[in-house]
Amino acid sequence: MRPDLELTSVPGWALTPTRPDADLSGRAWTIVAFGPGGADIARDWLAQIASAGGESAVRLHHVDAGEAIEVLTADLADARVGWRLMMAGPAEACLQLRGAATGLGVADDEMTVASTEVDSRAVHCVHCGAVTRARVQLDEVLPCGSCERKLLVYYHVSRRGGTYLGFMVDAEEPAGAVS
């Protein structure tokens, strides 16, 4: 039994690949594209912004997940109100970047996310704190990469860390009965 996922912390774009239009209500933009799929969407966004006359105020970055936060932090250093963050790529990378952006004070209505792939997840083990990355769906069970506990992938995603909450699925069973 689980609630309507709209009511949870899991964004719709982390469940289904989503391709929104560019946010043209801003005045300056940072676009972060992960991988070829992300680059494809970024191209469309750039064209939409250009047709609204805002092309000169765009910073476009093609990055891998590790570089994104650095790029974001650098762009934010001189950003003014009216700036927007748009990101496109696998949901896992987008969740992580959204977490960093939230920590840096970017509001939800200043972010646009397009997801190209939604099957890979970062799962945070609440028991040992390790993060395991795997292709796994909500409600499936995944062994923790560090403590090997069997983690149920719960429908909660950290706004700050971008990881899903994973907890021991067989905690109620006596140790001997666990195979």
Partner: protein, 311 residues
């Protein structure tokens, strides 16, 4: 609602048309602290008016409010100007916060017109107390410079105007060049708020960074009569033009929590299960108004079909 008794310990009429009252506990006890930007609802000889508290909110020994005389209003401000005197006691509700500063903001840009300065003075004092980055733009009429001395204390980070053109130039320049993380606070007449928020939106400000404090609706027309039905009792009746749904329900013995009675505070929100609604309040969001399942009984009205109030 618990009411507090406050005694008028000072009256300042220095500025024409604006009366500033200092209100204190009759026994000199401390008053409840409040969040900057809070207001109290004062019983003004029968009508209830909301007034912003101008202090920083930290352990106050007095509440200071400033009341603009509105000759076309419902009479509350005239009562304060004409009837209330030093040493009198008034009844008021405890402070209510509906215009709080966002504490994680990198900077606070305060924009006020006229008597809209009052909640901003509270924000300003709190910001100075806690060392927050704060900027203020203030426009007022000649001779109505309420709290200009407090604002001027901000030095180069304050700008006070009496001319619309210079104010507008400075406002647009300020809105166009604020560091990311700034939040905008606006208080003034409805047309002023509309202008400032429109300009901000044009310059890319997202809704989440804009905070408003309304004075209240401009005088509402009496409206058309409409039919209403109360679900629990099955009672059906007509609400006449010039009578609010809230007044009609009260007359029929229903107890509906309420405070401002002018569509601002949100206290008298009632669920609606059928019938079109003519929303006239400033409280519900556009999405909530569109949903059509609740109304503010003090100002909003029904349409052609019977309004089913789920009371």
């Amino acid at each position: 609602m618990n009411t507090i008794k406050l005694v008028v310990t000072a009256v300042d009429d220095t500025i024409g048309g604006i009366r500033t009252l200092t209100l204190a506990d009759p026994d000199g006890a401390a008053l409840p602290s409040f969040t900057p930007g809070s207001h109290i609802v004062v019983d003004c000889g029968g009508s209830a008016n909301a007034y912003s508290l101008t202090g920083d909110g930290n352990s106050p020994t007095a509440y200071v409010i400033s009341v603009l005389r509105c000759d076309e209003g419902a009479g509350g401000s005239r009562w304060i100007h004409d009837e209330l005197a030093l040493g009198d006691t008034v009844a008021a509700g405890p402070p209510r916060s509906a215009f709080a500063p966002v504490l994680r903001a990198r900077r606070h840009l305060l924009v006020a017109a006229g008597i809209g300065i009052t909640p901003m003075v509270s924000h300003l004092r709190s910001a100075q107390l806690w060392g927050r980055d704060v900027r203020m733009l203030y426009i007022h009429r000649e001779g109505r410079a309420a709290y200009a001395d407090v604002v001027a204390g901000l030095g180069e980070h304050a700008s006070i105007h009496t001319g619309r053109a210079e104010f507008t130039d400075e406002l647009l320049a300020a809105l166009a060049d604020q560091p990311f993380g700034t939040h905008l606070y606006v208080c003034g007449p409805a047309s002023f708020i509309e202008y400032v928020t429109g300009a901000a939106a044009d310059l890319g400000w997202p809704v989440s960074r804009i905070h408003l404090e309304h004075f209240g609706s401009d005088a509402l027309d009496p409206g058309e009569p409409f039919a209403a039905r109360v679900t629990s009792t099955g009672e059906e009746f007509v609400v006449d033009a010039g009578v609010s749904l809230l007044e009609e329900l009260e007359r029929r013995g229903f107890e509906v929590p309420n405070l401002c009675r002018r569509g601002v505070c949100g206290e008298c929100r009632l669920p609606v299960s059928a019938g079109a609604i003519t929303h006239r309040d400033l409280y519900l969001t556009d999405a909530e108004k569109k949903a059509g399942d609740a109304l503010m009984a003090c100002v909003s009205r029904g349409g052609d079909e019977t309004l089913e109030v789920a009371l």
